[in-house]
C-alpha cells in the first residue's frame, strides 16, 4: 500500500498531463495539476530552510571543521528571514511589498547579498583564465580546431574583431571575425546542440514512460524491481 499509492498518483497525474496536451477537454485538469505543483513548490522552501538549519546547526553543535562558516550562514539566514517575514522598516508596513525601497530586507539584499553574489560570479573570470592556460592545448587535430574556434569566438565577442578584419570586402564578409564567430555559433554549434537536445528529449520521454508505468521506482527510495 505504501508503495502502490505513490505509484497510482504518479500514473494518474502523468497520464493526465500528457493527455491534456493533445485532448482539449482535459486541458483544464492539466492546469489544475500545475497549480498543485506550485503549492508543493512552496513547501519545498520550508524543507530547504529546515534542511539548511539542521545541517549547519548540527555542524555548529558538534563544532566540526569550519563551524564558523555555519554560524555565519545561520545568522545570515535568520536575519534575512526575520527582515522578510516581519517586513522590518518597510515604509508601507506589513501589507506592503517586502522589497520596498528603504526596508531592512532591501538594504540587506543590496548591501550584503548583492555584492557577495556578484563577487562569487566575478571570480569565475580568474578561474576561467587559469583553466584555459592549463587545459587549452593543441594536442591533436580536434583540440586544435577547438582552440582556433575559441580564439575566433573570443575575438568575435570584442570590438577588436571588427577592427582587425573590418577591411575585408563585403563579398568576403564571412571571413570577418565577428561574422565567423556568428557562423560558428549558428552552424557547427547549432548542429551539435540540436543533436544533444534530441538525445535529451528521447531520454526524458523514456524516463517519463518508465515513471508513469511504474518501472522506475528509485524516486520512492526503493530499487527497481
Amino acid at each position: 500500500m505504501k508503495r502502490q499509492v505513490p505509484l497510482i498518483i504518479t500514473f494518474v497525474v502523468g497520464t493526465i498531463l500528457v493527455v491534456s496536451v493533445f485532448f482539449p477537454p482535459v486541458e483544464r485538469m492539466g492546469e489544475d495539476f500545475s497549480l498543485f505543483f506550485d503549492i508543493i513548490a512552496v513547501f519545498a522552501f520550508f524543507l530547504g530552510g529546515g534542511n539548511l538549519v539542521r545541517i549547519h546547526g548540527n555542524r555548529l553543535y558538534k563544532q566540526q571543521k569550519d563551524w564558523g562558516f555555519s554560524l555565519v550562514t545561520l545568522l545570515g539566514f535568520f536575519l534575512m528571514l526575520a527582515a522578510g517575514l516581519f517586513k522590518i522598516g518597510n515604509p508601507s508596513g506589513i501589507t506592503g511589498d517586502v522589497t520596498a525601497t528603504g526596508s531592512l530586507f532591501q538594504t540587506l539584499y543590496y548591501r550584503i547579498f548583492f555584492p557577495l553574489s556578484s563577487t562569487m560570479y566575478a571570480l569565475l573570470a580568474f578561474y576561467v583564465a587559469s583553466a584555459s592556460y592549463r587545459a587549452f592545448r593543441a594536442k591533436n587535430r580536434e583540440a586544435t580546431i577547438l582552440l582556433i574556434s575559441a580564439f575566433i569566438i573570443l575575438l568575435g565577442r570584442t570590438p577588436l574583431g571588427t577592427y582587425a578584419t573590418g577591411w575585408i570586402p563585403e563579398s568576403f564578409s564571412l571571413l570577418q571575425i565577428p561574422n565567423l564567430a556568428i557562423w560558428i555559433m549558428s552552424s557547427p554549434n547549432l548542429a551539435g546542440q540540436r543533436a544533444i537536445m534530441i538525445g535529451i528529449a528521447l531520454g526524458v520521454i523514456s524516463m517519463s514512460l518508465r515513471l508513469i508505468l511504474g518501472v522506475e521506482r528509485t524516486y520512492l527510495g526503493v530499487d527497481n524491481e
Binding site: 512552496v42 548583492f114 560570479y121 587559469s130 570584442t158
Partner: protein, 302 residues
C-alpha cells in the same frame, strides 16, 4: 592623466606578457596567481581609465530591437527578470535597456520574475529607471510589477491560459483588476511580446518551451554569454532574437543611443563593460598561446 594611467597599465601588461613569453620559450610554466594578477589588471584598468568601444548591432540583437521598435504605442510587453544578483552585472544591463526602450516607445510593461531573487531587481529598475528617467509614467497604467511566484515552469503552464489563477494582486497588494494596464489581459496570449532575461533554470529556454512556442507569442531573450550557445537552436523560429552576455547588451545600448536622443545620457553599463571584457579576452588568448608554447617545448625536450 587618464591616458597616462591607461598607457602605464597597458605597458605593464604588455611587458609582463613578453616576459612570460620568453620564460615559456625556456619551457617554464606560469603560476596560477600570476594569471590572476594579469586578469585583475586587465579588468581594472579599463574601468579606472574609462576605455569604451563603439558597437554595431549583430542581426540576432537587431532583431529584438526592431521587434520592439515596430510595436505601436500601448502594446503589451512582458519582461521577466529570471536572474539573481550574481548574474546581474552581466545580464542586468539588458533588462535596463529593454525597460528604457519600452518606456521611450510608450509601451505597456508587465514585470515579473520566476526567480525569488529577481523581485528586488525589478523594484530597483522601477525606482532607478522609470521613476527617475520617465516620471510621467504611472504605476498601474504604463507599467505593473507582478513580482515573483514560486513554481518555475508550473507558473508558465498556468498563466499561458489564465494570469489571474496565479496573480490576483501586484507586489504592493493592489488588486490587478483595478488597474487600467490589466484591462483586456486574460493570459500571456494577450501580450505582444515576451522578454525573458536570465541564464539559469527556469530561464529563456523555459519561456520558449512553456509560453512563447505553445502560445504563438513572439519571444525574445537575453542571457549570460555561456548560455547563449544553448539557445541558438531556437533562433530565429521560436526565439526572435537573443542578447548574449555583455556584448549583446552593448550592441543594444548602441542602437538605443543612435535612435533615441533622450537616452544619450542614460547609463550604458554594457558599453562601459566592453573595455574590461576586451582586455580580459586578449589576456586569456595570450596565456593560452604562452601555455601552448611551453607545452610544445617541453614535449620536444622529452
Amino acid at each position: 592623466m587618464n591616458n597616462l594611467g591607461l598607457v602605464t597599465s597597458l605597458l605593464i601588461i604588455g611587458v609582463g606578457l613578453v616576459w612570460f613569453l620568453i620564460r615559456s620559450i625556456q619551457g617554464r610554466e606560469v603560476e596560477r596567481r600570476i594569471i590572476f594578477i594579469f586578469i585583475g589588471l586587465a579588468v581594472a584598468a579599463p574601468i579606472l581609465f574609462k576605455i569604451s568601444f563603439s558597437e554595431k548591432a549583430t542581426p540576432i540583437v537587431k532583431a529584438v530591437y526592431d521587434q520592439i521598435e515596430k510595436l505601436p504605442a500601448n502594446s503589451k510587453v512582458l519582461i521577466s527578470y529570471d536572474y539573481d544578483p550574481a548574474m546581474a552585472p552581466e545580464v542586468g544591463p539588458m533588462t535596463d535597456a529593454f525597460v528604457r526602450h519600452a518606456m521611450a516607445k510608450g509601451l505597456r510593461v508587465y514585470f515579473m520574475t520566476l526567480w525569488a531573487t529577481g523581485q528586488p531587481l525589478i523594484v530597483t529598475a522601477v525606482d532607478e529607471i522609470i521613476k527617475k528617467e520617465f516620471p510621467e509614467k504611472k504605476d498601474g497604467i504604463d507599467y505593473v510589477n507582478l513580482g515573483y511566484k514560486a513554481g518555475g515552469t508550473g507558473v508558465l503552464n498556468v498563466i499561458i491560459t489564465d494570469i489571474r489563477k496565479m496573480y490576483l494582486t501586484d507586489v504592493n497588494g493592489v488588486n490587478i483588476d483595478s488597474m487600467e494596464i490589466m484591462h483586456g489581459i486574460r493570459s500571456l496570449r494577450d501580450m505582444n511580446l515576451l522578454v525573458s532575461v536570465g541564464g539559469g533554470l527556469p530561464g529563456v529556454k523555459e519561456w520558449i518551451l512553456f509560453a512563447g512556442d505553445p502560445g504563438h507569442i513572439p519571444t525574445a531573450g537575453g542571457c549570460a554569454a555561456v548560455t547563449a550557445p544553448l539557445l541558438y537552436p531556437y533562433y530565429p523560429n521560436q526565439l526572435l532574437g537573443l542578447l548574449g552576455g555583455i556584448k549583446g547588451a552593448a550592441e543594444y545600448e548602441s542602437e538605443l543611443k543612435k535612435e533615441y536622443p533622450r537616452l544619450i545620457n542614460a547609463p550604458q553599463p554594457g558599453i562601459k563593460m566592453m573595455g574590461p571584457q576586451t582586455l580580459a579576452h586578449l589576456i586569456i588568448m595570450a596565456f593560452v598561446v604562452i601555455g601552448n608554447i611551453t607545452y610544445f617545448i617541453r614535449k620536444r625536450r622529452s
